[in-house]
Amino acid sequence: MLNTKNIYKPLKAKLTEVIEESPVIKTFVLIPEKEFSFGTGQFIELSVDGIGEAPFTPSSSPLVKDKLEVTVMKTGYVTEYMHDLKPGCHMGIRGPYGRGYPVESFYGKQVLILGGGCGLAPIRSLLYALEHIKDKLEKVILCYGSKTASDCIYKPLFSRLNSIDKFEAHRTVDKAEPGWDGSVGVVTTLLNKINVNLKNSIAVVCGPPVMMKFGTIRLLEMGYSDDQIYLSMEKNMSCGLGKCGHCMMGEFFVCKDGPVFTYNELKNTPDIWK
């Protein structure tokens, strides 16, 4: 029998809240018309009727099925339109797509998370998932960098994480504004002060390409092996189906095989940080 299911048809979702995270980043709180499940690290296509769609990794907990949060940075035509949306209107979601974080393989380990800029969005979803299984983990350390303190998203998240047993969170900014008394410098400087047991640790890196490159290099210098480092190749996500070909990276389709890869899988791919 012919499969007539339209794989491009989005699920309708009502926008109930818009949270301004930074001058160019907003979080959209959506209530899908039916329950929506995703694995942490998997992504969705978020659409606006008549305008277009773009891929995003949800920033909310994968354990919550009736509400979805998506953090969007204003970077182009579709995202600019999304930023003007008000609560009450509807958006479309389709997915989830790709391979997320293999959370079960983190059991018994220390998880070091290196994030930059808007890369904290998928990381927040991962943090919710890790909080749920914290009894099975040794430790979770978040190191996050943003350009300035006002560019930092989810500001309350950091104090909350530091109050959770087994979790610690560190922040730095590239440029200090008046009133900032925390660390200054690129995110890799935070790695100088953390204490990890390399043999029993994995690292997760998500952020802008420059940050992912230097973050990965520093983790390798610290002694992490290629398969202990997980990279979320967000910028390569495209149609979600591996059909359009824009997500192709070497032998992989990021939409289907990723967006989460180990560095070992990608290290021989040309221009992985491009």
Partner: protein, 151 residues
Amino acid sequence: MKLTAEDLKKIRFFDHYTDKQLETIASMSSIKDFQVKDIIFEQYDELSEVYVLLEGSLSLGISLAKEKRIHLGTIEEGQLFSWSAVFPPFISTAWVMAIKPARVIAVDAKKLNKEIEADCDFGFKTMSKIAQTISNRLSDTRFQLMNQMML
């Protein structure tokens, strides 16, 4: 305040040194405290001590003029700084200021250099740590540079 080898054992930076080597480092080191806005050294100062930050937070930067300080980054707990004290001409390449009350280990650089020459194993370990510090700082600077170029 005087230090002992036992004190140094608790600090990650001093991992891999033998007990005897830690005793040597302790004998040439002292603890120093700095208050907020204290300048530990200025850019172009002649340096006589190498430091490891134990507690607090320090700002590292460069100056275009004395009144125009450019803050480049924060020195984190456990990090070595003032490495220029070990290499001729012993002149600092940056300034360091306390931005939170800070406690540091100050190692006499002349005595340290003598020990580096006298004990090859000690010298190799110490130079490796200094090289790692400089390498990390260079890598971070490249990272900053690429961030700026991508803007």
